[in-house]
Symmetry: D2
Subunit: 355 residues, 4 copies
């Protein structure tokens, strides 16, 4: 069955003032593939209701209990096709289970779960459900990240030898800063900066290189005495096939706002990309001049072309990259409903196995 209409989207978490919930909604809206029709935006009923009203969600589709939402939406003829999970980390697993079990596709913020046991359970649940599970490793949605991956896989760098990847922020530089659940092991899981942002860096290294990291040695530090979780980490990485790398993640590096960067070097060339200037990819073919491949330029290949909206020189950013995952997820969900092969980009979507 072809779904000509927009996909019906529900959301769990993301009530008033929540950052990532708002981002997911913009991402869903940007390419006009979804309409938000239901939500359990808060476990507090009044806050849930008020948040829903602001988002033009009908009152009867505002829930405070995600299990009730899963059940009732699954029972409606016009029920949601897909749910976006944007709760604190410890709820990712139970919410995902509830919706998968109800036959609803899932788009889940990262990290997928807090524990390996939960992760394995989710792998099974996804398999049993036959539903799509998309994990929003959102940085993989940038056109030039996909361009980089495409170039590496096409052999333009030759065999990969070295990867330098880092994700630096400054916001935890001072002690005493709340940081809410992100620095609380119970809600955030065992990783501090490693879990919060290191996962993005690690994922990016594997995504672009197409290589699996097989061994690592890490040094985790907490710079502020009273902070229970790491806020800085250095790692040595070994990849299948012999490539070596290093990863640095920090939330105590003044001057770094959201500095996710990767450099990757092979026998025949190098690539460098920085999230804060996402439209540019530096390519250094060995023995030639370095060249700047821009999003939308002729030098950018088909993978980048499919992940952009506007021409070269008109900057796209974080929201567009996030929207790309929603765009690809829509294609994946539609293809299942229509019983056809999904397009190639859906293979780039992080799924339950990446989680």
């Amino acid at each position: 069955m072809t779904i000509a209409r927009r996909l019906r989207l529900g959301m769990v978490g993301g009530g008033r003032g929540a950052f990532i919930g708002a981002v997911h909604r913009i991402a869903a809206r940007l390419d006009d593939q979804y309409e938000l029709v239901a939500g359990a935006l808060s476990s507090d009923p009044q806050r849930a209701r008020e948040s829903a009203a602001e988002l033009h969600i009908p009152g009867d589709r505002s829930y405070s209990d995600f299990r009730v939402m899963a059940r009732q939406e699954a029972a409606r003829a016009d029920g949601i096709d897909v749910v976006a999970i944007v709760t604190p980390n410890h709820l990712h697993h139970p919410v995902a289970r509830a919706f998968l079990d109800a036959g609803v596709h899932v788009i889940c913020d990262k990290p997928m779960t807090r524990t390996v046991e939960e992760a394995e359970d989710l792998v099974d649940a996804v398999a049993a459900s036959g539903r799509a599970f998309v994990l929003t490793h959102n940085y993989t949605g940038y056109p030039m990240v996909r361009q980089a991956r495409e170039m590496v896989l096409a052999g333009e760098l030759g065999a990969i030898r070295t990867l330098q990847v880092e994700y630096a922020q400054q916001w935890l530089t001072e002690g005493g800063r709340p940081g809410a659940w992100r620095t609380d092991p119970a809600r955030s899981g065992a990783g501090g900066s490693v879990g919060d942002i290191g996962t993005h860096a690690f994922n990016l290294a594997e995504f672009i290189s197409g290589l699996s990291c097989t061994e690592l040695a890490a040094e985790l530090t907490s710079s502020v005495t009273e902070r229970p979780l790491d806020d800085n980490a250095h790692m040595l990485l070994r990849f299948a096939g012999g490539a070596r790398g290093a990863l640095w993640t920090s939330q105590v590096a003044p001057g770094n706002e959201n500095a996710l960067r990767i450099r990757i070097y092979g026998e025949a060339g190098g690539l460098a990309w920085e999230q804060e200037s996402p439209d540019r990819l530096l390519h250094s073919p060995f023995g030639q001049t370095s060249r700047v491949i821009t999003r939308g330029s002729a030098a950018a290949g088909p993978a980048a072309a499919r992940a952009r909206r506007i021409p070269a020189g008109h900057p796209e950013g974080y929201l567009e990259a996030f929207a790309q995952l929603y765009r690809d997820a829509a294609e994946l969900i539609r293809s299942r409903s229509e019983n056809r092969k999904a397009n190639a980009d859906t293979a780039l979507l992080p799924d339950v196995h990446d989680g």
Copy 2:
């Protein structure tokens, strides 16, 4: 009357494959203040209908004649609140007139009209209608452009002495390239690069400096023999109060994708901004080190804060800046309906007088 719902938006122009129409729609969607419910997307009925269907516009609200659309939408209880005009330049005037006369607010792509006569007529029509008229000089929606303006107006640069503004592209470097209506005087108006992009540069200089250009000397060039309109222009500018400047616009400058840049210098400091790295504003207070003000950082003031969506380090781009005008226009339209003072940012909206 408070409009709690989304504003109902119509569109004239912007059928399949049109670039700027798609941009307007994304901009309207991004902040969730509008829903697109009607359109005369093409003057060809079938193309109009097919384009409308793709955008989930009901069949009975797809028009091929903008005058019919204006009349019928004005007559509906659920008629559009506002129309977005994204046609070729020569239609801006008649379409705007039709909707203003029907009592519909107007958001119009630039340049406003082809001739001074049309422009003056529109000024009168807006005044008579009591409706909002917003001209999408979209680069004024960038947070750091607003930050720059705010700093200049607050006197942080002292009296302005010098402005360097430029807008360089490369796409007309080779002759024989179609360029469609943009290089056709009948449809585009008398200006080539000057009208197409020079207007943005000129507007930006006045917007940030708060100064009016009172005199100019220009040299317009057509680099390709068969091209009837200018593709490169240099200008000397004089501003009220004594500031001097230069403007360069070119569509034959290889290596420049969409390089709109401005530098402005006063007695006490300088500012520099580039559209291709829109989240950064370089501020050089005289006698001190230059500093980089980033969108979302503590150094960015309230004007920038109101024009952003996500924190520092997460890039925003062209679509977000465009959406900002739609966001501000929504506030302006709502405030009129609600008979209240609009917020301060609406004063930044380019209107019929800027046109």
Copy 3:
């Protein structure tokens, strides 16, 4: 006669504390082609003597009168081969005449003279003397400037259409700043910023493009009431063959230390160079990605290779570029003594006709 030894250099001007005199001496020393053996470093005898002693110039070759110096040095068997003139502008002409008439080669700081009459007189004097006259338009000594010229002349940009050149500084931003003879018309000549730095920008545009500027329209401004000379200027330029350009020069642009920049665009590509990052030349062949040509890389051609000292990645700067003119001048002077053709780079030396 082959001069295997170092060339014997004299200097007029450049006593204690003088900036440009010290620069000339370092430039002369860098490539080990000169030894400084005589000087009229000041018109004040004691200051001349003390300055000379610090520079290891023998007491009997320290002069306070340049005419005496010219006469006596010309008479010595071990007299100077060449004199460097680093006095205030108004002395350039009489000093150059004195040494040319005495048969001594001349290296002269720019601007060559204050008036056209002086300039024409010098042209004649050089012709009559048979001596080399080198004007230190020092920015032409940068390897990547020579690379740019070589690429333009080889046709890599196709026919040139547009030049943007600028030279911005900040040091005269505040009024009341002395600026000594540079803002005094009697000693500096009729041009303020135009004469002091605009000449460099203008010269660079002609040097790289190989084109002569045939017409210009200029607006000169003095930003500070009590300042008699311009401190900011905008110009429209027309070049032989039809290229158009703009020049901006300013000494009241906060944040600009010594920002000499040029961009040049032709039918087939563009180039951009900035003096503050002199080892990099951005090349944008139309239709391809922009590439960064670095000094010492394989992409840099023979002209750049002959003008560098150390490998790629080891920055060279202002002193090395200045030394390049001394290196080339040494070759020119030796070739005359040896009655042989000088190497190709000597053709790049600014001479009395450039002045």
Copy 4:
């Protein structure tokens, strides 16, 4: 005894075509504190003689045996004050010993020796000789490196937490490239990229931070099968006081010419410096905007001011930084001869203990 004259310099190694020897000579010449009067430029007598002649060294002071040179120069009334050692690494120790034993000051290229035993022997020899021993860790001569050190020691960053340092090159990317003695363990010592460039990075981290590295974990890689030494290395570093860091060094990273970079973060701010843009230091005080401190600007403190030659905006580079060590070494040598305290900058000179 005051040495008003230039210091008499000898050189061992550095014959025709040698890179680092030429660099040492330029560095010695730049500030006019030395004259080169003797040399054992090659162990091949004819090559030594021809090289000497090109450098205007008198024939009787050209040697082919460094031991003879040490003995004979020490015996002359006008013998050399100081020797520069620019031989392959395995000769550093015997040459240094020979001249120290003869009472001659030593300036030695790095790495100091191949083995710990040699290093300890040299420490003793220096102590016994009473002569200056300067190791040319030349990157410490950059004004902005000294500025960084000064800021860190003044506490502007607070307690240091994290250091990221790297030195990347590309020249060994391809196998089969000779690389001469640098990839030959017998002549180069046990370290490949680690010894050749990693030592610079390591030294820079300690120099700027003022911290000693107490522990490290390293992974060394040889990317090309037939290469006996490492060409890429990643290290985790622990510093006294608790700071953590990472070091990456590579000679197989395409696109990197000579990319020595350091970033250092403390409780109160961060600094970033790149050797290829040496005149700029990025300072990020926490909670404020990042600012660019340029060499020669008012924001640069006394340490930078003493290590520069020309004003802001006129780039200095590698040769000037190298010359700084020669300038400081001249002061150190003169102060000993004059029996006075040397100036503060001499404390920055790398000595036998750094080696």
